[in-house]
C-alpha cells in the first residue's frame, strides 16, 4: 500500500503510540481488502460503546488508548451508550459506573458525546460522495444509500483508528465499482408504516447477506422509513448499502443502480412481508410488560406522532414504555411540549441509551413490544426478552392495555 511521508511517520510511531496502533489497524484492513492507499475522510462515528460490547477488556483497551494520548483529529461522533446521563432509570449502579468509564475514555480522546445512532439527525450530514468512516450498522446503510456518502461497514475500533488519523483505506464502498446493485426486489407489498419498512429490510437482509439490494416500486418513503429499512437490512444481514429506484441518489433508474451488472430478480409480496414480521416475533404470552420505541433513535417527527398517540391516554400500571432518542432531539421536543405530553401519559423519553445497548432486563421485564426491526432482532439475544413486533399504534395500544391484542 502506498503511504505518504506523513503516513509513514504515523506508521512508525513518530506521532505517538496510539496513532501507530491506529495505523496498524488501518494498514491491516488496507492489505486485506487490496487498498492501494489511504484516503482522507471528513468525519468518523465510533460505535460498540455499550458495556455489553466493550466488556472489561474493551474498556481497558479504550482507557489505555486515552491515557497514552490518543486524540481524534476530525469530527468524531459517538454512538448510543447503555445509560441515560440525565436521569436515574434505576439501572444497577455497577452497570452505570462501568458504562460511564467507556463514555469518559472516548470523550478524553476528543470524541463528541452525542450518544446517538442517528448523527445525521443532529447536523452531522456527510454530503454526496464524501468519504467518511462511520461505524453503527444502521448509520452506515443510511449514509451510503440515502445520502450517497462513501462509507464501509466500519468496525468500532477501525472507526476510532480513522478518527485518530483522519484516514481510511481506499477499498470497498469508497470505490464506485463496488456500489452497484446485486439483486432487484420488486416490491408489490404495501408499505404503510415504519414496521413495514423494517420488516422488509429484515426479510431481505436475511436472504441477501452482504450484497447490495435494489428496491423497485417503493412509493415515496419518508426519511424515517428509509432509516428503518436500513436498520432491518443491517441487523438480520450484513448489508452496507441499498438502492431504491427513483428514491436514492445513485439509482435514478434501474440501469444506473446495476451499472450493467447481471442481476437476479425477486418479488416482495404481502406474503414475504408477513414472513419478515413473523421472524421478528418471538413472544407467545400476550401480557406485555415493556414497550420500547426508538431504535434507531426517534426523530422529532416520531416524537410528535407519539405525543399525538399518547395525548390524554395512560400507560398501564404493569407496563413500562420507554421512548429512545438523543439529547438534542429531546431538548427540542421538550421545548415544543411533546415530552410533557408523552411523560404525562406515564411513558419515559430517554436520552443517550437504547434497549439493546442498555440493560432494561435488570428491571425484570420479560415481554417487549416494539416497531423496530433492529430491536426485535437483537432483544432476545441481548436482553433475553420475548418480542411482539408491529406498528407504533399497536405498540402504544399494548402499552396502554398491558397486552398485545393485534
Amino acid at each position: 500500500m502506498h503511504l505518504t511521508d506523513t503516513e509513514k511517520r504515523m506508521r512508525d510511531g513518530e506521532l505517538g503510540e496510539p496513532v501507530r496502533t491506529a495505523m496498524a489497524i488501518l494498514m491491516a484492513l488496507g492489505e486485506i481488502y487490496g487498498a492501494e492507499k489511504l484516503i482522507p475522510i471528513r468525519s468518523a462515528h465510533v460505535a460498540g460503546l455499550s458495556l455489553k460490547s466493550h466488556g472489561l477488556a474493551g474498556t481497558e483497551w479504550a482507557e489505555d488508548m486515552a491515557s497514552r494520548g490518543a486524540r481524534v483529529c476530525i469530527p468524531t461522533t459517538m454512538n448510543v451508550i447503555g445509560v441515560d446521563r440525565s436521569r436515574d432509570l434505576h439501572l444497577p449502579q455497577a452497570w452505570v459506573k462501568d458504562q460511564l468509564r467507556i463514555e469518559a475514555a472516548y470523550e478524553r480522546m476528543g470524541c463528541l458525546g452525542t450518544s446517538s445512532c442517528v448523527p445525521y439527525y443532529l447536523g452531522f450530514v456527510p454530503r454526496f460522495q464524501e468519504h467518511i468512516a462511520w461505524a453503527e450498522s444502521s448509520a452506515v446503510v443510511f449514509t451510503n444509500s440515502v445520502l450517497g456518502a462513501r462509507d464501509n461497514r466500519e468496525a468500532g475500533p477501525s472507526a476510532l483508528a480513522s478518527g485518530l488519523t483522519g484516514r481510511t483505506p481506499l477499498s470497498g464502498l469508497h470505490l464506485e465499482e463496488n456500489r452497484k446493485g446485486d439483486v432487484l426486489f420488486k416490491v408489490s407489498a404495501p408499505l404503510t408504516n415504519l414496521a413495514d419498512y423494517g420488516a422488509l429490510g429484515s426479510y431481505v437482509g436475511r436472504i441477501i447477506g452482504t450484497k447490495v439490494p435494489v428496491f423497485e416500486r417503493m412509493q415515496e418513503p419518508s426519511i424515517e422509513d428509509l432509516v428503518y429499512l436500513g436498520a432491518g437490512l443491517a441487523s438480520s444481514g450484513g448489508v452496507a448499502m441499498f438502492h431504491a429506484v427513483g428514491v436514492t441518489p445513485e439509482a435514478p433508474t434501474i440501469e444506473s443502480a446495476f451499472g450493467g451488472k447481471k442481476y437476479e430478480v425477486l418479488e416482495i409480496t404481502a406474503k414475504e412481508l408477513e414472513e419478515g414480521k413473523q421472524k421478528l416475533t418471538s413472544a407467545k404470552d400476550r401480557k406485555v410488560d415493556y414497550v420500547a420505541i426508538g431504535c434507531p433513535h426517534c426523530s422529532l417527527n416520531q416524537l410528535k406522532e407519539l405525543a399525538t398517540l399518547l395525548q390524554g391516554r395512560r400507560v398501564n400500571k404493569e407496563t413500562t414504555l420507554w421512548i429512545h432518542t438523543n439529547v438534542a432531539i429531546k431538548s427540542l421536543a421538550n421545548q415544543l411540549g411533546y415530552v410533557q405530553v408523552i411523560e404525562d401519559a406515564g411513558a419515559v423519553v430517554t436520552q443517550d441509551l437504547c434497549t439493546i445497548l442498555g440493560n432494561p432486563e435488570a428491571l425484570g421485564f420479560k415481554t417487549l413490544a416494539t416497531n423496530s426491526p433492529k430491536m426485535a432482532f437483537y432483544a432476545p439475544g441481548s436482553n433475553g426478552f420475548e418480542v411482539w413486533y408491529g406498528s407504533v399504534e399497536q405498540c402504544i395500544e399494548a402499552a396502554v392495555h398491558g397486552s398485545w391484542n393485534a
Partner: protein, 135 residues
C-alpha cells in the same frame, strides 16, 4: 490423511482444534454470551452451542459494528474460537480478531464446506496461509 488448502490470511497466527461448522452468518454483538462463548441469537443455527476453543467455520459476519469489541472480549476471556475460517471475512470480524490475536483465514482455494465437518481436527496456519484438515 491430511488435506492442505491455501487461503488468504486475515489475522496472523496459528491454532488447531476441533471444527465447528456453521452455515449461517454470525453477528457477535448481542448474539453471544461472552462469559462462555454460547450463541444466544434467537433461532440461530448455533443457538445454545458454544464456539469456545473451536475452529469456527462460518460464511461471514453480519449485524452490529460493535462486534469487533465482542470478538476481542472473547479472546481476552478465553471463551472465543481458537481460529476462524470464513468464505469472506468482513471488517467487523477482521478488526476484532487482529486486536485479540485470533488467527483468521478466508477465500480458501477450495470450498471449505466440502472439506470441513463438525468434529474434524483442523489447523489454521494464518502465518503461512494454510489450512490443514486431518481426516
Amino acid at each position: 490423511m491430511a488435506i492442505i488448502v491455501k487461503g488468504r490470511s486475515i489475522s496472523k497466527g496459528c491454532a488447531e482444534g476441533e471444527a465447528l461448522v456453521c452455515r449461517e452468518p454470525i453477528g457477535f454483538n448481542f448474539g453471544i454470551d461472552v462469559s462462555n462463548g454460547v450463541i444466544t441469537e434467537y433461532k440461530h443455527e448455533l443457538f445454545g452451542k458454544s464456539i469456545k476453543d473451536r475452529i469456527l467455520l462460518f460464511p461471514h459476519g453480519k449485524g452490529s459494528t460493535g462486534g469487533s469489541y465482542v470478538v476481542y472480549q472473547l479472546a481476552k476471556n478465553k471463551t472465543g474460537p481458537k481460529a476462524i475460517i470464513n468464505m469472506t471475512t468482513e471488517t467487523i470480524i477482521a478488526v476484532g480478531a487482529i486486536m485479540g490475536s485470533i488467527p483468521v483465514m478466508d477465500s480458501l482455494e477450495k470450498n471449505p464446506y466440502d472439506l470441513i465437518f463438525d468434529g474434524d481436527h483442523v489447523k489454521v496456519d494464518a502465518d503461512h496461509g494454510l489450512v490443514v484438515i486431518e481426516k
